[in-house]
């Protein structure tokens, strides 16, 4: 999976299940400080899929590893 943030960034995942049109639901008060997940959605079979906030994950990772924004440019 490739995601765009001025440049291309790769995100390593185990496997791709599919593509869905999703109704985004909030995770609620308890999880509001969980940065990397922006919400969740309920799939057809009732299971919950978490929605990654990809931009935040990349920004956080960049900050933590002291990579400057320039690296991405």
């Amino acid at each position: 999976m490739i995601r765009f943030q001025q440049t291309k960034v790769g995100i390593l995942i185990d496997y791709i299940i599919g593509e869905h049109q999703a109704v985004v639901k909030s995770l609620g008060t308890l999880f509001r400080k969980v940065q990397s997940i922006s919400g969740a959605t309920i799939l057809g079979d009732g299971e919950i899929a978490l929605i990654l906030d990809v931009n935040k994950i990349i920004t956080e990772y960049a900050t933590l590893t002291n990579l400057k924004q320039e690296v991405f440019l």
Binding site: F31, V34, I37, I42
Partner: protein, 165 residues
Amino acid sequence: MSALSASNSYLTCKLNKELFAIPVEQVIDIIEVSVITKIPQTPIFIRGVTNLRGNILPVIETRTKFTMESIEDTIDTCIVVLSVIVENDEIQVGIVVDQVLEVANIEPTQIKPKPNIGRKYSNDYIIGIAQIADEFILVLDVNKVFSNDEIINMAELSSEELIAF
């Protein structure tokens, strides 16, 4: 204590052979453990979220929260859905218990003050202890147990943990 339960009905449930009582006013539902989605960057006592009739319900691993040894789910394991107050908001959380027993009537006079020794459950979580027949039942203050700052602040993590994710 009086403000906590207008009626004297408590749902009793079992965790690690010990009995706990939850005021029925705060119990919304009792559901079976179904598929639970884990959420990264949350403490170990959060089992994840589950689908409760189209809503997302956080599920707390009560055994872990109470520093009890964790076990495999059994046929009796279920989730008690509670209504708790978090920062003036009423929210629903599910807690995993080994077994739900019954709704018992406990008179305020039967609830004895909590002991000062044996701080296994960090005394704050218990309103008192009721003795019924030969058994002791720990009366929980669910607002304290499941809505304290620990959960709210749980995602304030160190950088190592974030990288690990």
